[in-house]
């Protein structure tokens, strides 16, 4: 956080319209201090090593999935930075893995600001393992029930009237909380927990 109590944000996005739009929403809230945006990933490593922003709003398609130019590798130079993927089209799952949150820019501005503040205020990371919440939220249970029934992300999104990216975020949280990765395993979990019959 900066001295004025604002969170510093760096945007990495090639589209000028999107950058301008994000800047305008962020500035209006007076909670963010926006650094000079980058249009591609080329200088991100240098930039965040120097500025260590609290939040990185990044277009995940600008980076390879793995290797030294991947987002995950670059972020190692500034471990306190929270990476948030900004998406406005379908993006391959693997590219979203290194982000803590997926932000669909088509969502309403209030929702955007609330979810960004939520993730920032989660920081610092819980100090002890006991602080981590392993209980599934009601929404996560809804998603899990549909996963267990064999529905794909698109179908789950349609059923629950949420975006595919939100479904993916829920699924990542379910895997993190339960420690179970496969659909077959999640189905057994859902049945044992009485989430589905």
């Amino acid at each position: 956080m900066t001295v004025q109590g604002k969170y510093s944000v760096l945007i990495v996005e090639p589209s000028e319209i999107i950058v301008e739009g994000l800047l305008s929403i962020l500035k209006e809230s007076h909670r963010f201090d926006c650094l000079h945006p980058l249009t591609d990933g080329a200088f991100l490593a240098d930039s965040i090593a120097g500025s260590r922003p609290d939040l990185l709003l990044v277009n995940p398609t600008l980076f390879p999935v793995s290797g030294k130019n991947s987002l995950r590798a670059i972020l190692q130079t500034s471990p306190s930075t929270i990476p948030v993927a900004i998406v406005y089209q379908y993006v391959e799952h693997a590219l979203l893995d290194s982000s803590r949150m997926v932000l669909d820019i088509r969502c309403p501005r209030e929702e955007m600001l609330t979810s960004l503040m939520d993730i920032l205020q989660e920081k610092p990371q819980p100090k002890t393992l006991a602080d981590i919440d392993y209980e599934l939220s009601e929404r996560e249970k809804d998603v899990l029930a549909l996963v267990a029934k064999g529905l794909i992300n698109k179908e789950i999104a349609d059923r629950l009237n949420i975006s595919v990216h939100t479904v993916i975020t829920h699924r990542k949280n379910i895997v993190r909380k339960t420690g179970i990765k496969t659909v077959a395993g999640l189905t057994v979990y859902a049945l044992m927990r009485g989430i589905i019959q």
């Binding site: 990765k181 496969t182 077959a184 049945l191």
Partner: protein, 233 residues
Amino acid sequence: MTPLHFSPHMRLAELISANHNLILILPRLGISLGFGDRSVREVCVQYDVPEDFFLLLCNVYSFEDYRPGRKEIEHTDMHLLAHYLRKSHQDYLDRLKHIERHLQQLAGQVEPKYGQLLTGFYEEYQQEVIEHFDCEEKIVFPYMQQLEDGGTMPEGTEGFSIARFKHVHGNVHDKLNDLTGIIFKYLPGNVFPKESIELIFDIFQISIDLDRHTLVENKVLVPYVEHLERIRK
């Protein structure tokens, strides 16, 4: 090879102390226990196992970051590769059967509906592994053999290439990890911790080993067949 990895002059016993799991490799290559203080080189000569191949396996098994270079793959004597992988498969299938028996015992002691969930999950998993191994033994290995020996493609391998295998080659241990989690975290009314713990340890062990097996396939089998494909073109 960097000094961090195993070398032919080390005693075989040293390798095993460094990584106990290496002991699993020995019977698959026909090497018996009781090798005393003999070096890797001496043991390999005794059992007629190419030393470079043996070390390649041990290194991939033990050092997660280790990835043999193209030169190393090209210069290694791989004539035992398919044999080794087949033996490994048999080994896993035997151990999965053993786990299945224990799991059925455990499943018989909890509420039937949960017991059925466990055994159902496991059977499905086991079937997947069998199909996975089957595909390798019926298509990938014959394909590799044909590239090594020349001649016409064996039946079932027409149009196959290792790139396709790479594409579909999934890992076979995620489900096993899920199973252990389900048993120790979520199985309701599981009041038989001794059986559960033994079972979970068996699963942990095979899960680690299957993970290594996948590494051998990805880091040795795939690049070797790619090399064969290059020289055949």
